[in-house]
């Protein structure tokens, strides 16, 4: 009998993220859930753990209808999840963090001796018996925090345990301890859903491997029947229907050259040449350092201690050192970046569309510090039409637009700014197919007009469709640079996983936000 059954489970945000998932989980089974970024793994787990409600389909837990109204209800029914983003409260002690949801009480006061004793037992499960449970949480390293989080979850009775990249911050001995615990739970007939990019971990712990791609389950096999090559192949998939085709673009002159650029701990020894007239893709998994690379080029962060390497900009055959201390300097040097997090880092949501478009280059619509509102409306109106931004009026707050149209307005801001190098971080995330194609066409036009374009994307289809070259990052390094025609989806995935597969060479920043 199966413990958990999913029937036709679907979830739609702006676009369909999960499309009719059927899945069963048997007692004592360790099911590895794999898939590229954006495949829908996290969404699926969030639905099972009660954080999100499914749009369609149904779930059954031990034969009974299971529709958790929230995380608390799911936990009461025995479904628990260890999340990738840590949720600890730094100011509280380890014991308080572990027992927060059910503090032992005595006459209305917290019974600390009992709390600490319970916490010690939980910590012993994950090999932290030497850790004093009264230690403040913030004194712990990321790996220990992760273990405390795991201890907190597995110290409570559960039937189904979901683990989202649990080993991201752990050292090899810590992983051994975690796997011992998973085996113990397995003997108690707990079903475990294990999400990871790490093939090495999956080989060790999983019974079955299920691969998700674009919201569909593409394969489900016993681990013994499946090879690492097969997993990579299934994760990447084969390029599907692409009506759009871009002719090869003639490579132009080098514009920006990075030589041995390091920004510890996230970027290590980056060598890269960005040329005019081409679209350069940056591939890799989340946490590989792609966003950090763009931010380093854009001068968005202060260079951390131990930064090395140099960048040079070449214009009219003259090379010039480039070391931006702020985005203002980068923009002055003709470099623009369209950030990944549109709401936090790009859009001014309550302000009018036209004000969002003209923000980066108010000088074109003003004279001596005075804004010419007629000219501003005309300029913004021109871009609204050129990019077909769907809106009632350009005076409308940009926050009222759909994600895709907001993105177009932000792109308009940078086109108006007119940069030589434009860097796009996840330019089409959460955007519908039609707008996606429009943006691809736009990027192609820009490259053909002699601009240098850099695109970071978690969708390898997007990169293979669009780019002339793809540099793949893994754990803070560029592992391979492919030219068009030299790559395959499998090779890209292999390069992205390369540094993750070597034990002891784990990225230090992989506990970052996930999709």
């Amino acid at each position: 009998m199966s413990l958990l059954e999913l029937h036709g489970l679907g979830k739609t945000f702006n676009a369909a993220v999960l499309k009719g998932i059927d899945l069963t989980l048997a007692p004592g089974e360790v099911l590895a859930l794999m898939g590229a970024n954006g495949a829908g793994k996290s969404t699926l787990c969030n639905i099972i753990s009660g954080q999100l409600a499914a749009s369609t389909g149904s779930m059954r837990l031990q034969g009974l209808d299971y529709q958790p109204g929230g995380v608390a209800e799911a936990e009461r029914l025995g479904v628990r999840m260890v999340r990738q983003e840590l949720s600890q409260i730094n100011q509280l002690s380890v014991a308080e963090n572990i027992g927060l949801a059910h503090l032992p009480k005595r006459w209305g006061f917290v019974d600390y001796p009992r709390l600490n004793q319970q916490a010690s037992q939980a910590l012993a499960m994950v090999g932290l018996e030497s850790l004093d449970p009264t230690t403040p949480m913030h004194r712990l390293g990321v790996g220990q925090q992760q273990l405390v989080e795991i201890a907190k979850t597995i110290s409570q009775p559960c039937k189904i345990l979901l683990l989202d990249e649990p080993t991201a911050a752990l050292t090899d001995p810590q992983i051994d301890i975690l796997f011992q615990q998973i085996r113990r739970l397995q003997k108690q007939a707990v079903a475990i859903l294990y999400i990871s990019h790490r093939l090495a971990d999956i080989e060790r712990i999983a019974d079955t491997v299920t691969i998700l791609r674009d919201g569909n389950i593409v394969s489900r096999q016993a681990k013994a029947d499946i090879s690492a090559e097969q997993i990579v192949k299934d994760m990447s998939g084969v390029a599907s229907d692409q009506a759009q085709h871009f002719a090869p673009r003639p490579p132009g002159d080098a514009l920006l050259t990075l030589t041995k650029v390091s920004r510890p701990p996230l970027l290590n020894n980056i060598n890269l040449t960005i040329r005019r007239g081409e679209i350069l893709g940056i591939g890799g998994l989340i946490g590989a350092g792609r966003t950090e690379l763009l931010r380093a080029i854009f001068g968005a962060d202060l260079a951390p201690a131990g930064s090395q390497g140099e960048m040079t900009i070449t214009r009219a055959q003259k090379a010039q050192a480039y070391a931006p201390a702020s985005p203002a300097q980068a923009v002055a040097a003709g470099i623009g970046m369209i950030a990944e997090d549109r709401k936090q880092q790009a859009a001014l949501l309550p302000l009018a569309i036209k004000h969002n478009i003209t923000l980066a280059k108010l000088s074109t619509v003003s004279g001596k510090g005075w804004i010419n509102s007629t000219k501003e409306a005309a300029t913004a109106g021109h871009w609204q039409q050129a990019l077909a931004i769907k809106c009632d009026h350009i005076d409308q707050p940009i926050g009222e637009l759909s994600g895709g149209n907001q993105q177009k307005a932000i792109i308009a801001r940078w086109l108006l700014r007119d940069c030589d190098l434009l860097m796009f971080d996840e330019p089409t995330r959460g955007i519908d197919v039609h707008t996606k194609r429009m943006i691809y066409q736009l990027l192609d036009d820009l490259a053909r007009a002699g601009k240098a374009i850099v695109v970071v994307s978690s969708e390898s289809e997007e990169l293979t469709h669009l780019c002339d070259r793809i540099a793949v990052m893994s754990a803070g390094e560029i592992t391979r640079v492919f030219n068009r025609g030299q790559w395959s989806e499998e090779q890209l995935m292999a390069a992205a996983c390369e540094n993750f597969l070597i034990p002891g060479r784990r990225p230090q920043a992989s506990v970052g936000p996930s999709l």
């Binding site: 702020s326 203002a328 000088s363 801001r413 700014r417």
Partner: protein, 332 residues
């Protein structure tokens, strides 16, 4: 459809109606309220608070706060008295010294809070103490009578009935509003208050913009000091205690958001007028000082609640638009 109604200044109309309603209310409650004397009294009291509210609007717009304005007003007044009496300089020189002192203190506020990313609440709280202490030091903790040398600024002009300080304050309100809504600097202020990181990542230096807002606030506090000295004909180191809170109240009544990004200088001025009318009116109907404070407090809170509702209505409209667009059959 082009209705002549669209030329009405809609964004100021709501508060203007509240102001008229208050005046009408006090007119009914008191026989003496609707007289020229009442209005000239109010008009001559408000210039200091009005200019300080202009500066406070700029600071709140960038999601900052300036608690030092009351102290800077006193410091400016103390310096004006000192330059006039001890240095025997003209009022023009004295006024420049006072106003510039305010601007310099504002520069310090702005530089420290912007450069080290320290909350302006803390920095200006420090400046509140520093300014007040400096005012006591300058005056030897005594009120200095200055007399006719300064009173001309606050004396109603013959034929107009309004003092030069009020005329200047109103002029500055207009200039402040124009700067905010028509210049690149004003746009940057609003943008920084809305989402500073997005502005920074658009290649705009945000630090100078934030510093400028505090300089304007300090400058206005210095000017307020001049107006206050002229009104009292003396330099009082105890002047303007708690004035920062009145200014914040006026600006908030005017609908400026403490979270930044939204605000209007004209509405702040209407907020100042509402507070002044309330104070004078309550005094005329015989309310005691404690009662006046209770009622003023209630009005501030109610004004902000109404403002929340006004904006929630806006959000609701946006929400409705989104929902209808999403539900359109063609899009799915």
């Amino acid at each position: 459809m082009k209705s002549p109604l669209r030329y009405l200044p809609w964004e100021y109309l709501g508060l203007f109606c509240v102001l008229l309603a208050l005046i009408g209310l006090f007119g009914l409650l008191s026989d003496h309220f609707l007289t020229l004397l009442t209005f000239t009294t109010i008009a001559n009291q408000i210039p200091a608070l009005a200019v300080i509210a202009i500066g406070m609007t700029f600071v709140l717009l960038i999601a900052g706060i300036d608690l030092s304005v009351g102290s800077l007003l006193a410091l400016s007044g103390a310096l004006i008295g000192w330059v006039l009496v001890d240095w025997q300089q003209s009022i023009l020189v004295a006024a420049c010294v006072g106003v510039m002192a305010g601007a310099v203190c504002g520069l310090i506020n702005g530089f420290i809070s912007a450069h080290w990313a320290i909350p302006s609440f803390i920095v200006t709280l420090g400046m509140l103490e520093i300014g007040r202490g400096a005012a006591y030091l300058t005056t030897g903790s005594q009120t200095h009578y200055l007399g006719a040398s300064v009173s001309a600024i606050a004396t109603p002009l013959p034929g107009l009935g309004l003092s030069p300080s009020l005329v200047l304050a109103v002029l500055l309100v207009v200039i402040g509003q124009v700067v905010l809504s028509k210049t690149v600097f004003g746009r940057y202020l609003i943008a920084v208050g809305t989402n500073e990181e997005a502005v920074r990542l658009s290649g705009i230096k945000t630090t100078p913009i934030k510093i400028a807002a505090f300089v304007i606030s300090g400058l206005m506090a210095g000017l307020g000091g001049l107006f206050h000295v002229a009104y009292l004909e003396s330099a009082d180191p105890n002047a303007g205690i708690g004035l920062e809170l009145s200014a914040i109240a006026a600006v908030v009544i005017g609908g400026t958001s403490l979270a930044g990004g939204r605000g209007s200088v004209v509405n702040s001025f209407l907020g100042v007028l509402i507070i002044a009318v309330l104070q004078t009116g309550l005094a005329q109907v015989g309310a005691s000082e404690p009662t006046k404070r209770v009622i003023t407090g209630v009005v501030i809170v109610v004004a902000v609640i109404l403002d929340v509702y006004r904006h929630r209505a806006g959000d609701f409209k946006a929400y409705a638009v989104r929902v209808f667009r999403l539900n359109r059959p063609a899009s799915d």
